[in-house]
């Protein structure tokens, strides 16, 4: 399925901004079940633009605007093909994955405090599928969707204790429990394919054959979600769509984010 994907974020500032430098991950991932057919990233005003792939192979643009401005728009326009994957989750649990980067503690997801819960939760589970489903059910039961309760720096454990959060927190807690069980899993940032209003976060769980299956704990959906993923990482800190800093005497704020996903071909 081919999608036209547009991302746009607009920032406004109280005073002149002299330098504004941002690192962006706002085009669809080019790999796994996705093929990036075209893409364009730019800003208004325009700046010095550099492209690279990060350690997770995400497409990154670093843009530095040095023209004086009070409003900055960063946007992307892409065409991506999303294919369905063959999904299999009936692998035996537990399974020893050996050493894996996606098992380590991260800035926002520390599996350690979830150790007990994870073991309790999966008593009697025989397959990875059962484990995934019971974790998602548990997380959904413990966290109430409430925008504004958490922010980009909230850790998995803090969100868990608070019992509130948004998709990012559902994802972080799910990752923490999976990793506590020594199941490698990664954070995915992207957009859903049915009239998205913002960027979304979900989970990809590694299977013993090395493939990943996608799970959306926030919306309680499983496998072959059909969403468009932008970037993968260990937690949100690896995949923030736009992160950067500006030099100005005044403050600035994110005025709005616009996300559009339009199906252009089957």
């Amino acid at each position: 399925m081919d999608y036209r994907v547009v991302y746009r974020s607009v920032y406004e500032y109280e005073a002149d901004v002299i330098v504004n430098e941002n690192t962006t991950r706002i085009v669809p991932y080019d790999g796994d079940n996705q093929r990036l057919l075209e893409h364009k990233v730019d800003s208004i005003p325009q700046g010095y633009k550099t492209y690279f792939r990060d350690i997770f192979d995400n497409i990154v643009y670093r843009i530095k605007v040095t023209e004086v401005h009070r409003r900055l728009e960063i946007y992307s326009d892409s065409l991506v093909r999303v294919d369905a994957k063959a999904i299999r989750v009936d692998y035996d649990f537990p399974f020893d994955y050996g050493f894996n980067q996606f098992l380590l503690p991260t800035r926002l997801v520390d599996p350690e405090p979830f150790q007990k819960i994870a073991i309790e939760l999966t008593k009697g589970a025989k397959s990875l599928g059962e484990v995934i489903e019971s974790i998602v059910e548990f997380v959904r039961g413990r966290i109430k969707y409430s925008p504004g309760a958490t922010d980009v720096n909230t850790t998995a454990y803090d969100a868990f204790k608070l019992g509130k959060g948004v998709c990012q927190d559902y994802t972080h807690v799910t990752l923490a429990i999976l990793r506590a069980l020594k199941i490698p899993a990664r954070y995915v940032m992207g957009v859903v394919n049915d009239t998205p209003r913002a960027t979304h976060a979900w989970v990809e769980v590694m299977m013993p054959d090395g493939t990943y299956v996608d799970v959306d704990p926030t919306r309680n959906r499983f496998y072959n979600l059909g969403y468009v993923k932008f970037a993968i990482g260990r937690d949100f800190a690896d995949v923030s769509p736009v992160i950067g800093s500006f030099v100005s005497s005044g403050r600035g704020q994110l005025k709005n984010v616009l996300v559009e996903v339009r199906k252009v071909a089957d």
Binding site: T23, Q101, T106, V247
Partner: protein, 472 residues
């Protein structure tokens, strides 16, 4: 007053087996002063073992307690005269260790030839990244550092030069030189090398009897390099400092005095149509050809200067964006780059260093942390350098969280030296900093001494500076 380490050390007469052997050998030849030892590991003490120090050791032994009186005097004088290195924004004399470190001209030449080639490699790398837009090492390493300057891409700096000055950190292991860091951004220290040398010559002239010691020099290379890049016979050069609270402000003044540079702060710099000026009270706006910058961040302090530079109105040294070659993750690739560019790197070894974004390396370090020294990439805050066996758990967890921003190095047993501290002589760790001015290396070499018992030798950690003598 000057912050000499306190004298309240436990009595460390019990010198351990390894160095006891060395000491015995020397004791047979001649007696020397008692040296206190706070270091557990086996080390090679260059002061006691390298024959080049023999006359000096005899002299120190004959002067013995007089050395400590003179050492106090030197340190008091340094404090009174304003020979400062600031830590935490307080007036503080730079602690001086009066026992010189003696190296042969051969050693100096070997290291300088290496560093000249190495600087060539650094310049080639930076040029390749910014001008040829092909990154010969993993792209993300270069483009994630805060020191990467997107606006430098496609820009040709004056005379094609990026790194005008760098200050490599060199240590010795059994006398052999190893490079630890390149320091290509705004390296400091040459004034400290000059002054440590001068103070010891002034107060302890007897020490150099029997040695043909070279006078420290090298600042003139800096001047010539800056002048060459300006394309003018008699350029106006300004040293850009962020002010007296910079830890090395003493050096900023020292260099501008000796070389006749205008010492300017960001607010003194003005950009006009077609030129950069320094605003003065007595001579109005003075045109400037070259900015020798001693500040890292041009974006916040002088954003207009950067634009003037990109329009070719002024030369900035070091060129903005050179920090990409200073990243510890880039350091790992220097031997590879030497091969790629066909430049020979001989005479100095680089410790075995691995990047942790590679899975196998990461696994090795996590499974066996005690065999590595880990270092965080520049500009990423937090812990700079850690020896894992000292503080395994918390440091290891920090490492796991962003392993791609760490490198791991083999644990090396650096050679030790002897320092006069308080009323005793101690065995200490010390490094060298050699200053390379594009294609020449200063004979003013700095040696920084770690606090007694510590391997960390940077001045912010409170260590001393030691004069370096190049002889023969």
């Amino acid at each position: 007053m000057s912050q000499l380490p306190s004298e309240a050390w436990p009595n460390a007469n019990s010198i351990q087996s390894s160095s006891q052997e060395i000491l015995k050998v020397i004791r047979i030849k001649y007696k020397h002063v008692k040296i206190r030892r706070m270091i557990k590991d086996r080390t090679y003490n260059e002061f006691l073992s390298d024959p080049i120090n023999r006359k000096l050791l005899e002299k120190v032994t004959s002067l013995e307690s007089k050395i400590h009186d003179l050492s106090r005097l030197v340190n008091l004088q340094a404090y009174m005269e304003g020979f400062t290195f600031y830590t935490s924004s307080r007036y503080r004399g730079t602690p001086i260790d009066v026992i010189p470190r003696v190296i042969s001209s051969d050693f100096y030449l070997e290291v300088s030839n290496y560093l000249i080639n190495r600087t060539l490699i650094l310049n080639r790398l930076i040029k390749e990244v910014y001008q040829e837009k092909s990154v010969p090492i993993p792209d993300w390493i270069v483009k994630t550092t805060p020191f990467f300057k997107p606006e430098m891409v496609g820009f040709s700096p004056p005379k094609g030069m990026y790194v005008y000055v760098n200050g490599a950190d060199i240590v010795r292991i059994n006398g052999e030189p190893y490079i630890l860091e390149d320091n290509v951004r705004v390296p400091s220290g040459i004034a400290y090398a000059y002054k440590a040398f001068e103070y010891v010559q002034r107060f302890l002239p007897d020490l150099s009897e029997g040695y043909a010691v070279k006078e420290p020099s090298g600042l003139e290379y800096l001047y010539e390099t800056l002048r060459y890049a300006s394309g003018s016979k008699d350029p106006v050069i300004a040293l850009l400092t962020d002010g007296p609270l910079n830890s090395a402000y003493f050096e900023h003044r020292f260099i501008s005095d000796r070389l006749g540079l205008v010492l300017a702060e960001p607010k003194d710099i003005g950009v006009k149509q077609g030129e950069v000026v320094v605003k003065t009270l007595d001579e109005g706006e003075v045109h400037v050809d070259v900015i020798y910058r001693r500040i890292e961040d041009l974006d916040v302090l002088t954003p207009e200067l950067m634009k003037a530079y990109l329009r070719g109105w002024v030369t900035i040294a070091n060129a903005p964006g050179v920090g990409i070659a200073d990243d510890k993750a880039t350091f790992v690739w220097i031997p590879y780059l030497a091969e790629r560019y066909g430049i020979s790197l001989e005479g100095v070894r680089q410790p075995i260093t691995i990047c942790l974004y590679e899975r196998d390396n990461l696994q090795k370090v996590i499974n066996n942390p005690a065999s590595y020294v880990i270092k965080k990439r520049e500009g990423y805050g937090g812990i700079g350098l850690s020896i894992l066996k000292d503080d395994s758990v918390s440091v290891l967890k920090e490492l796991m969280k962003e392993y791609e921003n760490f490198i791991a190095q083999e644990v090396l047993d650096f050679d030790t030296v002897v320092s006069a501290v308080g009323d005793s002589f101690y065995e200490t760790f010390a490094d060298f900093r050699f200053f390379t001015y594009y294609d020449r290396v200063a004979t003013a070499v700095l040696s920084r001494v770690g606090v007694v018992g510590s391997r960390v030798t940077n001045n912010s950690s409170g260590g001393m500076v030691k004069p370096v003598w190049i002889t023969g």
